[in-house]
């Protein structure tokens, strides 16, 4: 009975046009990379995190935390736009909101997979987050709220698939609120550490939220473009309008985010803490300079802006390229922010401490990152194949 109902359900939601050998090959390919990449992370529990990752006493966090932050922030962005269009309707993005909910879930799973193999004892977390919670800890709130958000979104998605619109809207709203609060706690994790002047301060949580709006919009543009690319269909006008609408949001937030980035850095050079200034210098002319100028600023901010202007928000291919570049820039920006705060020794001047600590991510850290990226790609293809009709149902009205 149940299997029958399930088969019926999938018959209604799946998109048979994607059941091609080529699609299967791609999906399978990503699955293999997920297993290999995240497998490296899982292996760290057997061989010891210290042997697989290049973390040290001086630099306790690195590429994996920044990757986690990137996926979590992107998920928040997608979820917010989806919720806005579900609750208020009327936005052109509403036609693609089901796809956004799915991808928001997938992105947060990418985040969980990354942090799951980053922390040393996740099994203790499952127990003591509940038995011994610390309400003063941002990490505790962040984990709990992201957990709540993903739970809500899964039920919301179930509501969408089964046509229970009320459940979907209510849980979508709760999920989006939880995502925003979790995102703000994620910013708070860094913003509330006076030991790291590069992070410390009230601006960071807002900066993270702005980044969520930017990454979310960029992801909407890119994902919807790809959804039609893989089908080889002509994109309906309604989806083009949705992309245009997301493109507008993306442009606006791109400018806001650039302004915030500019002032954030300038601040350190007009006074304040020496450690903050040295960290900012790491981005401007130090070990993170190429990351910052080439990847974060040129590829992540300037070129996308030029592309958006040239596309006049009409050429979706160009917009999607801008979206992709923004996401690459955002990924590197998360890394620069986290590395910037950690590379500067707190007791500078003693012990002949170097101006900057050395940290280069290990092969296995990169492997986990590739694994998490493949997980998101796999989730995307799977979603389009299994829930394709749910995603496109509103597009043709």
């Amino acid at each position: 009975m149940a299997t029958n109902a399930l088969t019926n359900l999938f018959n209604q939601t799946e998109d048979p046009s994607l059941a091609t050998p080529r699609m299967n090959r791609f999906t399978f390919f990503f699955l293999i990379i997920v297993i290999l990449g995240l497998g490296c992370g899982v292996a760290s529990f057997i061989f010891g995190h210290e042997k697989m990752y290049n973390y040290t006493r001086d630099v306790p966090w690195g590429l994996l935390i920044s990757t986690y932050a990137f996926w979590a922030i992107t998920s928040t962005g997608l979820c917010i736009y989806a919720a806005i269009s579900h609750i208020f309707g009327g936005t052109k993005m509403a036609v693609v909101s089901n796809r956004m909910v799915w991808m928001s879930i997938i992105c947060i799973l990418g985040a969980f997979a990354t942090i799951g193999v980053e922390i040393a004892s996740p099994h203790r977390m499952l127990i003591y987050n509940i038995l011994s919670p610390n309400p003063a800890s941002n990490i505790w709130w962040m984990g709990t709220l992201y957990g709540l958000a993903v739970g809500c979104m899964i039920v919301e998605f179930f509501g969408i698939v089964t046509g229970l619109a009320r459940i979907a809207v209510i849980l979508g709203t709760i999920g989006a609120i939880a995502e925003v609060l979790a995102n703000s706690c994620l910013g708070g994790v860094f913003a509330t550490l006076p030991a790291r002047p590069y992070w410390y301060g009230g601006q960071l949580p807002i900066y993270f939220l702005t980044a969520a709006f930017l990454s979310g919009a960029a992801a909407i543009v890119l994902i919807n473009h790809l959804a039609y690319k893989i089908r080889g269909h002509k994109m309906p006008q309604s989806v083009k309008d949705a992309i245009k609408s997301a493109g507008k949001a993306m442009t606006l937030v791109l400018i806001l985010y650039s302004v915030a980035t500019f002032w954030r850095l300038i601040m350190y050079f007009v006074g304040g803490s020496e450690l903050g200034r040295i960290a900012a210098d790491a981005l401007i002319s130090g070990p993170l300079a190429i990351n910052f100028w080439l990847l974060e600023v040129c590829i992540g901010l300037i070129i996308p802006l030029v592309l958006i202007l040239r596309s006049r928000l009409k050429n979706t291919g160009m917009l999607a390229t801008a979206g992709l570049l923004i996401l690459i820039g955002q990924f590197v920006a998360r890394y620069n922010l986290i590395a910037g705060g950690l590379l500067v020794p707190g007791t500078l001047g003693w012990d002949n401490a170097p101006t900057y600590f050395d940290y280069v991510p290990s092969f296995f850290e990169f492997a986990v990152v590739i694994g998490s990226l493949s997980l998101v790609c796999f989730g995307f293809l799977l979603g389009e194949r299994v829930f394709g009709k749910t995603f496109t149902q509103k597009e043709h009205h």
Partner: protein
């Protein structure tokens, strides 16, 4: 001297206050409990309690220490000769693993020039058992906490999920990942290894031949640390006071 009225005064900052005045101020009555430092009066009591008095400049009154014992350490920094006997004693007593940058206390050094002569300066560091410990605040599972009896910041290893937030939060690089325990570890003033056995000193303080490290209950007027902290002529400082962690490890020159 009306201390209450004084508290309401605006902080003039260190630049404007000559050290002559600083001394006078200390002699005026701070023998009670405070340590004057960099233009701010540093609390020796818990931040929680101290905040009740005044959030800007905290002058703890006697009797406001929240812990039965309130352990701290003062370093007579210029006495340190970098013999590292303290480090060996700590490693042996507390089974600190070798490798992976594991240490509970270490000696930092730097070159300074005093009156034209280059001089090597040594500074012992360890966990400051802060009164407002960032590590304790950030820990999601209360795996690290302030022992209510002694004010010592301790670990409950089984609860540590290894998120390493406390390592990022500690201004003093006092925490390390203990691969044997698969949890964060740190100095606990030899709470389990010596104080519990009735010893009065930590292993490092006991091993120091130059009497650099003076350990004791900063609440008890009969202790040497109390005397050193409240001697008006002693210039006392702490590391990175701007982080607001309110450390309980103090420094002076003998």
């Amino acid at each position: 001297m009306d201390i209450k009225a004084l508290e309401k005064e605006k902080n003039e900052g260190i630049d404007t206050l000559p050290s002559e005045e600083r001394r006078k101020f200390l002699k005026m009555g701070l023998t009670v409990t405070g340590v004057f430092l960099g233009g701010t009066v540093l609390s020796l009591t818990s931040a929680q309690k101290a905040l009740c008095v005044n959030t800007v400049s905290v002058i703890p009154a006697a009797g406001q220490y929240p812990y039965n014992k309130h352990y701290g350490m003062i370093m007579r920094q210029n006495n340190c000769i970098d013999c590292e006997k303290c480090l060996d004693a700590c490693r042996a007593t507390n089974h600190v693993p070798t490798g992976h940058d594991a240490w509970r206390t270490t000696i930092q050094e730097r070159l300074t020039t005093v009156e034209g002569i280059e001089k090597r300066e040594f500074r012992p560091i360890l966990c400051n058992h802060c009164n407002r410990p960032p590590c304790v605040r950030v820990c999601p599972t209360k795996a690290t906490y302030k022992d209510p009896e002694t004010g010592i910041v301790v670990m409950d290893y089984k609860k540590c999920i290894g998120c390493k937030t406390c390592m990022a939060a500690c201004p003093y690089n006092a925490r390390y990942f203990n691969h044997d325990r698969y949890a964060i570890d740190k100095c606990n003033f030899c709470l389990d290894t010596r104080l519990a056995e009735g010893e009065k000193e930590t292993a490092c303080a006991a091993a120091c031949p130059a009497n650099v490290r003076v350990f004791g209950d900063i609440k008890d007027p009969s202790t040497e640390i109390y005397r050193l902290l409240h001697e008006p002529d002693n210039k006392i400082w702490v590391i990175r006071p701007e982080c607001g962690a309110l450390p309980n490890v103090f420094y002076m020159n003998a």
